[in-house]
Amino acid sequence: MADFLQLIISGTATGAIYALAALGFTLLWQASNTINFAQGEFVMVPAFIMLFFITTTGLPLWLAFLLTCAVAMLLLGYTFKLAIVDPLIRHGVIPLVIATLGLSIGVKQLVKAGVTAQALPFPNPFPDGLLALGDLKVSYADVGTLVVAGAIVIGLQMFLNRTVTGRAMQAVAQNTDAAKVLGINVKRMVLYTFLINAVLAVVAALLVTPTYLAKFDMGESIGLKAFYAAIIGGFNQTRGALLGGVLVGVLENLTGAYISPAYKEGVALLLFLVVIIVRPEGLLGKSEERKV
C-alpha cells in the first residue's frame, strides 16, 4: 500500500509539471486560438537561460529563475506573439500550427548547434532526502514540486476568477467581440496570456530539469505529454489541463510499476485516443458549437 501511495504522489508531482505546460496550451487556445507546438521547447529554453545565469554570472538559482522569467516573458511571450502569432493568426490555425512546429525544430537545432548537444546538470531547487510518513517515503523533490505546481495552478485560477484582469482575460477567451464591445482591451489581455504562458514554462523548466537534465531535446517529451494532457482534460478548460496532466502522470507511474516500464510511454497516447473517440471535448471540456 505504501508503494502504491508513493506511486500516486510521485505521479501527481510529475503530472503537475505536465499540467503547467498543458495550462499554457489551454490558455493560448482560449485567448487567441493559438496551438503552440513549440511548448516543449518553451520549457527547454528557460532551462538553458537559467543555467547561463548560474554558470556565467554565478547567480543563485532563485535569482536566475526570476531573471529568466523576465527574459522568457520578453522572448517567449512578447516576441513570440509579435513575430509569429500576430502575422499568422489571421490566416487560421493551420499556418500557425505549422509555424510553431517549425519553431520547435529551429529552436532545438539552434541550441544543439549553438550551445551543446550534450546534457547538462541542473541544480535541484529542493533539498535531497526523504520525508517518512510511517511506511510511506516521499522525496522532498516530489513534495516541493507538488507544492510549487499546486500553488501556481491555484494562484492562476484565483487570478482568472477573482481579479478584474483575470475576468477580462476570460471574457476575451469566451467571446472576443463581446469583450471588445464591453471596452476590454483585447490585445492587452491576449498579451497577458502569452506572458503567463512564458512564466509557466519557466516554472516547469525549474521543476523538471533537475531530473530530465538540460538538453536540447528535453522538451519533446514534455511538449507531447502536455498536449495530450490538455486534450484529455479539455482544451478549452484550464481545470482540464490540471486533471489531464495529473491523470497522465499517475497512470504512467502505475503502468511502469505494475505492468512494465516499457509500456509507460504509451499510456498518455492510449488515454488520448480513448478521450478523442469517446469524449472529443475532453473530460472537463465543453463542446463548442459553430453555426454555418
Binding site: D3, K137, T211, L213, A262
Partner: protein, 382 residues
C-alpha cells in the same frame, strides 16, 4: 606516332607523380561519431580522444612520415546515418574508420567498411559485434562477454549478493549487456530478481526505480548509456534506494558523475579504462586531455585516444599504408606501452578483433571516481 608516344609517356609520368604525391600526402582517417542525439556524450568524448592523439602524432611527424588528415562526421546516433557515412568514408578512400561508438550503429555500418576491406575501430561493447566473422572490425574496449563475468564474480565474492535486479537500456548495447550479465550471474548462482528494460533517451526513471525497489534484491545492476545512467542515479537517490548499485563501464564515468552530482556517490562499476587509474601514462593522458578540452575525459575519450595509437603502432609495424595488411596484422597483435606509450595499457587483440588488457573496479566517492582494485587481463599479455 612520335607525338602519340610522347603524350603517352607524359600522361604516365603525370599519373605516377600524382600517385607518388598521394602516397606522401596526408592519410585520410574518418570518424563516424555520435556528435548529437542520445549518444552525443559518448561520441563527443571518443572524437576528442581521437583528435588529441592525431594532434600528438602529427606534431611528432605523423605515421611513417605522413600526417593524418582526420575528419569526424556526425551520425546523429542513427544507425542508418552511420551506414551512409561509412559508405561516404569508403568513397573518400579512408585508410581506417574510427567509430561509431554505439553498438547499434556499428552493427549496421560495419557492413560497408567490411565490403571495402577497411579496418573499423569501434567503442561498441555489444558481444555480437565481433561474433559475425568480420575480419575488419576491432574494439577499443572490452566485449561484454569478457567484462560481465569479472563483475559477476565481484558481486558474489565482495558484495555477497544472492539476488540482483537488472536495469538495462533496450538497445543493442543494453540487450547484449543484459544477456551477458544474466548468463554470468547464473554461472555464479545469483538469482535475477527483476529484469527491468528502459528506453534509450528515457528521461523519467521513477517506474524502473520503483520496480527495482519492489524486487527487494540484494543489489541493483544498472546498464544504461551515460545520460540515462545519471537520470537513473538521481531517481534512485530521490526514492531512497539503499542497496549497492553496480554497473559496467558507464555508471561511474566522468560524465555520469558530472550529471548525477551527489546521486553518483556510492555507485560501483567495472571499467576497462579510467583516467583515475594509477598508471603514470594514464595520468599524463588525463592532464593533456584536460588541458586541451577543459574537462576530464571519460572512458570513451581514452578509447578514441588509444585506438588511434593502435593505428599508428600497427601501421609502423607493417611499414606501409595498406588497409588489408593492417587488418591482418591486427589479429593476434600485442602492443606494449614501452613501445607505444599512447596505448596507455599493454593490449592484446584476438582473432575476432576483441581486446584484452588490465581493467579496474571503481567506486564514486565524494563526486570522484576512485579505483578500488586493478584486475589482471583474462590471459596474461606476453
Amino acid at each position: 606516332m612520335k607525338h602519340a608516344l610522347r603524350n603517352t609517356f607524359a600522361v604516365l609520368a603525370l599519373a605516377t607523380s600524382t600517385a607518388a604525391l598521394a602516397q606522401q600526402g596526408p592519410v585520410k582517417i574518418v570518424g563516424l561519431m555520435e556528435l548529437s542525439g542520445t549518444g552525443a556524450t559518448a561520441g563527443t568524448n571518443f572524437d576528442n580522444g581521437v583528435k588529441l592523439a592525431v594532434k600528438e602524432i602529427n606534431a611528432s611527424g605523423g605515421i611513417l612520415g605522413r600526417k593524418i588528415d582526420y575528419e569526424s562526421w556526425d551520425t546523429q546516433t542513427a544507425p542508418q546515418t552511420a551506414k551512409a557515412l561509412a559508405q561516404k568514408a569508403v568513397d573518400q578512400g579512408a585508410y581506417v574508420v574510427m567509430g561509431p561508438v554505439f553498438s547499434g550503429s556499428i552493427i549496421v555500418s560495419m557492413a560497408e567498411t567490411k565490403r571495402a576491406e577497411i579496418p573499423n575501430f569501434t567503442g561498441g561493447e555489444a558481444a555480437n559485434i565481433t561474433q559475425q566473422g568480420n575480419a575488419y572490425v576491432f574494439r577499443t574496449s572490452f566485449t561484454q562477454s569478457t567484462a560481465m563475468p569479472k563483475l559477476a564474480r565481484y558481486i558474489k565474492d565482495t558484495i555477497k549478493a544472492k539476488s540482483v535486479s537488472m536495469m538495462w537500456v533496450n538497445n543493442d548495447f543494453g540487450k547484449g549487456g543484459r544477456d551477458a550479465m544474466a548468463k554470468a550471474l547464473e554461472a555464479q548462482g545469483i538469482k535475477v530478481a527483476a529484469d527491468i528494460s528502459t528506453d534509450a533517451g528515457q528521461v523519467d526513471f521513477s517506474g524502473p526505480v520503483l520496480k527495482a525497489k519492489q524486487s527487494n534484491a540484494d543489489a541493483l545492476f544498472v546498464y544504461l548509456n551515460e545520460e540515462e545512467s545519471a537520470r537513473a542515479l538521481r531517481e534512485l537517490k530521490k526514492q531512497g534506494y539503499d542497496k549497492p548499485i553496480i554497473g559496467e563501464t558507464t555508471l561511474t564515468g566522468q560524465k555520469v558523475i558530472e550529471l548525477a552530482g551527489d546521486a553518483a556517490n556510492g555507485a560501483i562499476a567495472h571499467v576497462g579504462l579510467t583516467v583515475d587509474a594509477p598508471q603514470p601514462g594514464i595520468k599524463a593522458f588525463d592532464e593533456k586531455f584536460q588541458k586541451e578540452y577543459k574537462y576530464k575525459s571519460d572512458h570513451n575519450g581514452m578509447k578514441g585516444y588509444t585506438g588511434m595509437y593502435v593505428v599508428k603502432a600497427i601501421t609502423e609495424r607493417n611499414k606501409k599504408f595498406d588497409s588489408k595488411e593492417f587488418a591482418k596484422a591486427m589479429h593476434g597483435a600485442t602492443i606494449k606501452v614501452k613501445d607505444t606509450p599512447g596505448v596507455l595499457l599493454d593490449v592484446h587483440f584476438d582473432n575476432n578483433g576483441d581486446l584484452d588488457r588490465e581493467s579496474f573496479l571503481t567506486k564514486v566517492e565524494n563526486g570522484k571516481q576512485v579505483v578500488t582494485a586493478t584486475l589482471p587481463p583474462v590471459n596474461p599479455i606476453q
